[in-house]
């Protein structure tokens, strides 16, 4: 068949069945949009960070970096520059800080120095900045940061704008020199950061002549030689790493998030394919009749197959394109927020980065889904099939499944679940594969579940003649067509995905809250830097400690030290506690080992607890020695116990503060823990402590419960994308099912008209349609929920075993019910209008052949 012929037939189809084609297109576009948005939301976190790193590092491929936030002497720069093979080197001092505007807004940012030295590296950051900008005493703000602070261009033009910079416990004013847009610094304009000259950053941080990194560009072919020389220079006290190490570490940190969103992308893809399949099934009767007519006219099966494929391709390409546009809008609006909990450890961007891979995956998925969904009419091209078979079929078109096939499919589903669950024992991180298996099994179980549901409905209906309409509905569903099954499967997959994700999400939130509550319960009051949720930023604590200890309600003041340490590809959270702390290890977070013994060993010194996945990665067990790259050189510690990751995905370590002070060479606290005397009023003591800090301190006093609530809010914000995606999934599934069911009801007008002739009132027809819809949606939802609970169990196991998160499994019955009801009621509400109109069909429609 020529292209003109193919176009003619497709044009004819579009003219005669525009609504059907539109519905099919909407189904495909919805799936494509969900898949793209989820992928982009996921990859944007690391891609934005990568853009920032590249903007700063430019041609640098290596770096010498400090193992703590206090950095090292900048004089090392000249030694690096003198190394043979080094083409360029630039120092950087980076600090976690908080910016506060006069309008009351505050933003946690990455404060980085951007001196003239960076020009030699030719990073995007320096290309369009003048030497004056890079040396002036003030800060340069990327546009995203200025926006977050509410600094409009008008504000800046009106006159000099000052903001407060809180860093290392001190609050200092700084002039905003400029706001840097995309045209000046490229993707870096989306960063939550502030740039300033090295001297100014050193001054703000109170770290004169210190830097945290030296970026190095080796001459061509000299990279390995330079690395070796840098390693000698580092003398075991600094880390030599690739320049983009932060991106690699961030990827590792967000790996569980990547898995979770990957899972969602998968569920979205399956729902998308099912939506497309549903929508295309609506067009099956018409397509089958066209096939029959054309075959009678002598068109060959081969030509018809090409025609169908062409039509599916046209639909798939157009709908996928629309889906990409919708997905981009979703990614830039609803899924735009960056998880804040990562901000203290990594430079984060806010921009949405849409890579070519997500675009291709989503587009190709949409086109393939359209082609797969277009295949049912091809069954009429089978050799033994009568050419005009479609004209001699009774009832709704579609291939009904017999009882044997239903049981066989169910058994295959059970086998798939057993196989994938079994594989998890040997490959614990294979959760995505297991979820795919479970999703497939859910779909395979639908035909039998549907039969059981219809049988159950018939039993109930037989008890009273008041439920005769249920009998009619159940009978109408007996010849379970592919369309009904596809609809039920769509509901099942949507509910499955929502239950797995939301329930695991709840478990994770409960687990994190429990963990954090225990972690902060060691003191009644905490003093920390603003926005320093993990207490990793040090401040000059000694000047406050004495004054606070004198407050009448204060029983004790302890130093708490913490930070991040890069250990074998992970940015691990360090917790160093005073041996006098009553509960050194959060008791419920212990994975292996005895709590009392481990605590005693920590107090003794030379011992640490390690997150289980970190211990596994290093192949160490309790009693083994783990060597850490500390600022004073490699130091070995014995493993006292293993714990969960304490809510920090790369893992955590707890050690004795004395050990920490020795190896890190600092007594600066990152938090002060305060015990309140029994009987003293907490609020009053808190106020007194705040008073003792004085006006210049950029510190916050919090009760342990306030701190736990703040961590909970942070965890909820970090995981909010999961809620948003599940909500989107539920809405999309409900609407798409309603659209497909509505169109299906519309196509059944003649059989409804026949019932009207047999004295069925419109109200009775509405009852029949409502029962039918409930049975289809209910079967899908309940099957999906059952599979979802099992998937939730697997997911929690993955979170605990593979990622080390505290996620105690609990069936969220009420929430599962809520998900089921939301999807069913949403679909029923959207169905109400087509069902109402169809129930009022003229009986005359039954007389038309």
């Amino acid at each position: 068949m020529r292209l003109s012929g193919l176009l003619y037939f497709y044009g004819r189809r579009l003219r005669t069945r525009p609504v059907q084609e539109l519905l099919a297109g909407v189904g495909i576009a919805t799936g494509v949009a969900l898949v793209l948005a989820v992928q982009v939301a996921n990859s944007s976190i690391t891609d934005a960070s990568k853009a920032i790193e590249q903007g700063i590092a430019g041609t640098a491929t290596l770096q010498l970096r400090s193992r703590d936030a206090a950095g090292f002497n900048e004089q090392l720069l000249s030694q690096v520059q003198r190394l043979p093979g080094v083409a360029g080197a630039a120092p950087i001092l980076e600090q976690s800080a908080t910016l506060r505007a006069s309008n009351g807004r505050s933003v946690p940012i990455d404060l980085a120095s951007a001196g003239p030295g960076l020009v030699s590296l030719d990073g995007g950051i320096t290309r369009n900045l003048s030497l004056h900008d890079l040396t002036a005493p003030g800060v340069l703000l990327p546009k995203a940061t200025a926006d977050a602070l509410g600094l409009s261009p008008q504000t800046l033009l009106a006159g000099p704008t000052r903001i407060m910079v809180d860093v290392r416990g001190r609050s200092r004013p700084a002039l905003v020199i400029a706001v840097l847009g995309r045209e000046t610094i490229g993707d870096l304009s989306g960063a939550r950061a502030a740039l300033a000259s090295l001297r100014f950053v050193q001054q703000l941080a109170g770290l004169p002549r210190r830097v945290t990194r030296i970026l190095v560009t080796p001459r061509p072919g000299q990279r390995e030689a330079v690395r070796r020389e840098m390693t000698v220079l580092a003398a075991g006290r600094l880390t030599v790493a690739p320049a983009d190490q932060d991106v690699t570490l961030l990827k590792q940190a967000v790996a569980p998030n990547t898995e979770a969103t990957g899972f969602f992308a998968l569920v979205s893809a399956i729902v998308g394919v099912l939506l497309a399949f549903n929508a295309m099934l609506l067009t099956v009767p018409e397509r089958r009749r066209v096939i029959a007519d054309l075959r009678i006219q002598g068109v060959t099966p081969h030509q018809l197959a090409i025609m169908l494929l062409f039509q599916a391709l046209c639909l798939g390409i157009v709908a996928s394109f629309v889906g990409l546009l919708a997905g981009e809008v979703l990614a830039r609006t609803l899924f735009h927020e960056t998880p804040s909990y990562l901000a203290t450890a990594f430079p984060l961007g806010t921009q949405t980065v849409i890579g070519i891979r997500p675009l291709l995956v989503a587009f190709a998925g949409g086109v393939v889904a359209a082609c797969i969904a277009a295949t049912p009419p091809l069954l009429d091209l089978r050799k033994r099939r009568a050419v005009d078979a479609v004209y001699f079929e009774e009832g709704e078109p579609g291939q009904a499944l017999n009882g044997r096939a239903q049981v066989q499919l169910f058994l295959i589903g059970v086998a798939v679940v057993i196989a994938t669950s079994g594989a998890l024992i040997f490959w614990p991180s294979g959760i995505v594969m297991a979820t795919i298996g479970l999703a497939i099994a859910t779909m395979l179980a639908i035909p039998l579940a549907f039969r059981v549901a219809v049988g159950f409905a018939e039993r109930i209906a037989s008890t009273t003649s008041r439920l005769n309409m249920l009998t009619v509905a159940a009978r109408a569903l007996r010849a379970t067509t592919v369309r009904s099954l596809a609809l039920a499967a769509t509901g099942a997959i949507a509910v499955f995905g929502c239950v797995v994700a939301e329930d695991s999400h709840y478990d994770l939130l409960h687990g994190l809250y429990g963990d954090y509550s225990e972690y902060v319960s060691t003191a009644d009051l905490w003093i920390v830097n603003n926005n320093d949720d993990l207490a990793t930023i040090s401040f000059a604590s000694s000047k406050y400690q004495e004054g606070i200890a004198r407050i009448s309600g204060v029983a004790a003041v302890r130093s708490y030290q913490g930070g991040f340490l890069d250990v074998a590809g992970r940015r691990v959270w360090l917790i160093a506690r005073d041996p006098a702390t009553h509960s050194l290890i959060p008791p419920t977070q212990l994975e292996e080992g005895d709590s009392a013994v481990a605590a005693a060993r920590l107090r003794e010194g030379g011992w640490i607890t390690v997150s289980k996945q970190v211990a596994d990665a290093h192949h160490v067990r309790i009693g083994d020695t783990l060597t850490l790259p500390t600022p004073s050189g490699p130091a070995g510690y014995k493993v006292a116990a293993t714990t969960t990751n304490l809510g920090w995905s790369p893992g955590a370590m707890i050690l004795n503060a004395n050990d920490y002070q020795r190896a890190w060479g600092t007594t600066s606290a990152t938090a002060l823990e305060i015990d309140v005397r029994p009987g003293a009023e907490l609020a009053r003591v808190k106020k007194q402590v705040e008073g003792a800090l004085g006006p210049g301190a950029a510190l916050k006093v919090q009760t342990s419960s306030e701190r736990a609530a703040q961590a909970d809010a942070l965890a909820r914000q970090g995981l909010s994308r999961m809620s948003q995606i599940t909500l989107m999934l539920m809405i999309a599934a409900a609407l798409a099912m309603a659209a497909a069911m509505g169109a299906g009801i519309w196509q059944r007008r003649s059989s409804l008209a026949a019932l009207r002739i047999h004295s069925y009132s419109p109200r009775q027809l509405r009852s029949v349609l409502a029962y039918e819809s409930l049975l289809v949606l209910g079967t899908g939802a309940v099957t999906g929920a059952a599979a979802g609970i099992y998937g939730h169990l697997l997911s929690d196991r993955y979170l605990r075993v593979t990622t080390g998160y505290p996620a105690p499994f609990a069936v969220e019955g009420l929430h599962t019910l809520q998900t089921i009801l939301l999807i069913i009621l949403g679909a029923l509400a959207a169905l109400a209008i087509p069902a109402y109109v169809a129930s009022r069909v003229s009986p005359q429609a039954a007389l038309q052949t």
């Binding site: 001699f392 079929e393 009774e394 009832g395 709704e396 009904a400 209906a461 037989s462 009273t464 003649s465 008041r466 005769n468 309409m469 009998t471 009619v472 009978r475 109408a476 007996r478 010849a479 379970t480 067509t481 003649s750 059989s751 026949a754 019932l755 009207r756 002739i757 047999h758 004295s759 069925y760 009132s761 009775q764 009986p843 005359q844 039954a846 007389l847 038309q848 052949t849």
Partner: protein, 246 residues
């Protein structure tokens, strides 16, 4: 055929039904008067669009006339409330149409009982009630067969059993043989006639099938919404019988 002594079942008196098609008003039924007595079969012929199906809808109280009266056993259907109309359709009326409209996947015994369910008859009782009718139409051995396991003729027999399950006083049949071959069509017509006579039910049979004349007591012809006067060439049963014989 049934003699003047038979009670009148259906009476149409100068019935008019108009439709609006765009700006044009079409008189689908234009002043039709017709009487059917118990046990009488009236065949209604006419080209497509002549108003035959509309006439059936009026007789079934599925639509009301714009003027004139449709009376069932003396009662004006136009004055029926929705409940009365539903009761009339459930208890007095049987409807057979060309597209059998059987429920796919549902056995014959339940397809035939579908009308009783609308009247709150318990399913078991409805199934029991449909068995004799299915036996009567020759499907005693096919009670539990689903439509896809039945031939076209058998499906129409199920549809007939469904129409007759309430012992109707009036049977309205719209092209009941339209989807069947000549032999099966003839069998169905004979079956309908036999049942009609035995039950003393009146039947208005809309058909293009020349064989219908063989079973009809009267043949009427509709054209442009009007019932042609008896004795016109087009309305002559003799002519139709001759066609049937051919």
């Amino acid at each position: 055929m049934n003699g003047d002594a038979s009670p009148v079942v259906l009476e149409l008196d100068n019935v008019v039904k108009r439709y609006s098609v765009g700006s044009e008003v079409v008189r689908a039924v234009d002043g039709v008067s017709l009487t059917l007595c118990a046990g009488e079969i009236v065949a209604l012929h006419g080209p497509s669009g002549s108003g035959k199906s509309t006439l059936l809808m009026l007789a079934a109280a599925l639509m009301a006339p714009d003027s004139g009266q449709v009376r069932f056993e003396g009662r004006d259907l136009g004055r029926f409330s929705a409940v009365e109309a539903a009761n009339y359709q459930r208890r007095q009326l049987g409807f057979v149409y060309q597209s059998f409209h059987l429920m796919a996947g549902v056995p014959a015994v339940e397809n035939a009982a579908i009308k009783l369910l609308a009247d709150r008859t318990p399913l078991r009782q409805a199934r029991r009630a449909s068995v004799p009718w299915l036996e009567r139409v020759g499907l005693a051995s096919r009670l539990n067969h689903t439509p896809d396991q039945l031939s076209g003729g058998e499906r129409q027999r199920v549809a007939i059993a469904r129409a007759l399950i309430n012992d109707p006083r009036l049977i309205l049949a719209d092209e009941p043989t339209g989807s069947l071959d000549t032999q099966r069509g003839g069998e169905i017509l004979e079956l309908l006639a036999e049942i009609c006579h035995q039950q003393r039910a009146a039947m208005l049979l809309v058909t293009h099938d020349p064989q219908a004349a063989a079973i009809a007591d009267r043949v009427c012809v509709m054209r442009d919404g009007k019932l042609l006067p008896a004795g016109t060439a087009a309305a002559s049963p003799t002519i139709l019988r001759r066609q049937a014989a051919r």
